[in-house]
């Protein structure tokens, strides 16, 4: 049975992927890559929830993952529409050249 890999290892993989995604969000300047890193962080959190669901013999984590995926899909639709709109108006999607709210 799979239960003899300690849950710690799955959680560490999840934490590392989450940290790499966070570094990408903070360091990269291309807005689409920032968006992809956010998706990666969401998926790392999903891995944590599934690990907890497996090792606690519970299904609540699985249902949480279900809802996180729903929100991620809606976020992708709206976020990418915002990028298209931004590119149409400003001709750039570099995060540090977008300063519409600066006044």
């Amino acid at each position: 049975m799979p239960a003899d890999i300690p849950s710690l290892y799955f959680l560490i993989v999840s934490a590392l992927v989450f940290a790499i995604g966070a570094i990408g969000v903070l360091v990269r300047r291309n807005a689409i890559i920032i968006f992809m890193c956010i998706e990666m962080m969401l998926s790392a959190v999903n891995l944590t929830l599934i690990t907890a669901a497996h090792y606690l013999n519970s299904l609540d984590g699985v249902l949480m993952v279900f809802f996180v995926m729903t929100v991620a899909a809606a976020e992708a639709a709206v976020g990418l529409a915002i990028f298209v709109l931004l590119f149409r108006n400003r001709k750039t999607i570099k995060a540090d050249e977008i300063n519409l709210l600066k006044g």
């Binding site: 590392l16 990408g24 992809m36 599934i50 907890a52 299904l59 249902l63 993952v65 990418l80």
Partner: protein, 175 residues
């Protein structure tokens, strides 16, 4: 015994692939290659779900993340036709970036220590792996989704509706 060894090998290979793909996502300058490595990352996370004996969530992960969301992202990248970030002669690393990387590494160390010093807290449920294999995890998930989690399920449909309307309104050309 043999099954155990293969399980460990599969776990190690898959997690290494996931980490490698994650590093590649944040280092590629071409957004299309970053997107392809992100698909690789999602698929390896789906294999980790399979190793945790949740095939339904693994299939959903491949369909929604690697299929639908990444299709949208690649489509938008091609639509915008962004020129590659030109390779700078000297790699301009600002102080803020260095500080942020250090802070994220501290966060990562805290996460690892935090999960390392104690077992997973929380209430144990009734669904052991044997029982799930007997019932089928699709059936078990569906049963909870339409009883305990019925209200969040309805709210999720409203979120999707708002997302659709928002995307249509935002990307409409005003005339």
């Amino acid at each position: 015994m043999v099954e155990q060894v293969f399980y460990w090998i599969a776990f190690i290979m898959t997690s290494m692939t996931a980490l490698f793909a994650a590093v590649m996502v944040i280092t590629r300058s071409n957004p299309i290659s970053a997107a392809m490595f992100l698909v690789l990352n999602f698929v390896s996370v789906a294999i980790l779900y399979l190793l945790l004996r949740f095939p339904f969530i693994a299939v959903i992960q491949v369909m929604i993340y690697a299929g639908a969301i990444m299709m949208l992202v690649v489509f938008v990248i091609m639509l915008l036709n962004v020129e590659e970030e030109e390779r700078r002669k000297k790699i301009a690393v600002s102080l803020a970036q260095v500080i942020s990387v250090v802070l994220v590494l501290m966060l990562c160390a805290q996460l690892v220590v935090g999960v390392g010093i104690q077992k997973i807290p929380g209430k144990h449920g009734a669904f052991t792996a044997e029982q799930l294999a007997e019932v089928g995890d699709v059936k078990a998930v569906a049963q909870m989704l339409f009883t305990t989690y019925l209200f969040p399920f309805e709210i999720a449909s409203i979120i999707l509706l708002v997302g659709i309307i928002g995307a249509v309104i935002l990307s409409k050309k005003e005339r």
